[in-house]
Amino acid sequence: MELIARAAGAESLTAHLQRLGPMPALPSGALIAEVEASGLLGRGGAGFPVGRKWRAVAERAAGGAVVLANGAEGEPLSFKDRSLMTARPHLVIDGALLAARAVGASDIIFYVGAEHRTADAALRQALAERTGEVRGRTRIVAAQAGYVSGEESAAVHYVNAGDARPTSSPPRPFERGVGGRPTLVQNVESLALAALIARRGHAWYQGLGRGRARGIGLLTVSGAVNRAGVHEIELGATLSDAAAAAGGLRGDVRAVLLGGYFGGWADLHEQWGLPLDAPSMRARGLALGCGVVHFLPSDTCGVEATARFMTYLASQSARQCGPCVFGLSAIAGATQRLAAQSPQPGDLDRIVRWSGQLTGRGACHHPDGAAALMHSALQVFADDFAGHQRRRCLTISEPARVAVA
């Protein structure tokens, strides 16, 4: 296991250095080249190539950039970032230091969800073990609880002005971020993986992975499994492997939420062999996102589960952009009425129309995530949504309808 440890407690600096050796002395250009050649993709949600982002910041930095290590982890079904920071804080710190060297950043900010107390303590303890030079240019900022706090412009806004609402772009943080300086916002798992790649070379990372996929990553597996938790996998491992890693499915399961609340539902039977890897999933219209895999038990109604998630997303709107404020709450309201089998006439049609209008219509991608959730729900639970519009729940009336292989 590279990213999480079986032993409890945080890894000390001594143990970290014994396991991995010292930080490599590669200069900026070579670091960027290694990370680019590794093909490492970001783990905060969007799956953007890490090396390309480092290059974009480096080109603008002129030595004055900032690195913001994103450990906000506001996604309710994700625990991998706090687990990583708790277990291997020095690997995250190494990643941030290497990223800073690569992009030409003097300052590093660890942006850690205020509610992730153990992770915060581990990171503080780890920084105390580092040199005065490192401590002098790093600080930890507690991110406000909330789904949108971890969005890149919200993070920068919070650090700059104490306001964790996204800002309009352009400029994006890589252009103008913390203190007006080019800012690399990078997920903590992405940074930890970059620290391993810098030590072992891109060929090491390329040598991992199943099938055509390359590399490793963290998943948070939850729902109808025997051992919910954070699991490290080789990318390209299948959905069935993920279920096995979590001790197997508990009871009948028919659908799985992939990528988090802003990911999407998938039919379990169709996707049982799905390789968990951003490019393979994208090709099937799915997303790895931040690595959430949540199995929905067959006796739970998909309309109801979707209404719950959608209500949460609507409640988390930063309430700045009309389409997000009104669209999300209208969709959530109609989905709730459907779930309760007391819809107004035309609710389902309106949900279809409204969710088709959301993408790209907020200052941040929050509405896009909600749209992705709804689109997938309307496909995977098409019969259920139609049934609920007729005031009939298929899950409750025909509970034995689906059996899992």
């Binding site: 890149e152 800002t167 994006r172 700045q320 009309g322 790209g360």
Partner: protein, 72 residues
């Protein structure tokens, strides 16, 4: 390369004026907020689009050159 109509979603307060000025490009949702046709502004519509940019009471619209972006 071309021009796209960009909107500052935080500024926009749903006056809907823009949709009247460039119906070829902008429609309104159920709450009066603009829905912009994706893609570059066709040359024949650029003039109207410019007029909407100037007319928006909160200066939420702008015409911008398309450029490569870093995904978020």
């Amino acid at each position: 390369m071309g021009e796209v109509l960009q909107i500052d979603r935080i500024r926009c307060d749903g006056h809907g004026l823009c949709a009247e000025l460039v119906p070829e490009l902008i429609s309104l949702d159920d709450w009066g907020y603009p829905i912009i046709k994706p893609g570059n502004v066709p040359p024949s519509v650029v003039e109207h689009a410019r007029r909407a940019v100037d007319a928006c009471p909160v200066l939420a619209l702008r015409l911008a050159r398309t450029a490569a972006l870093v995904a978020r």
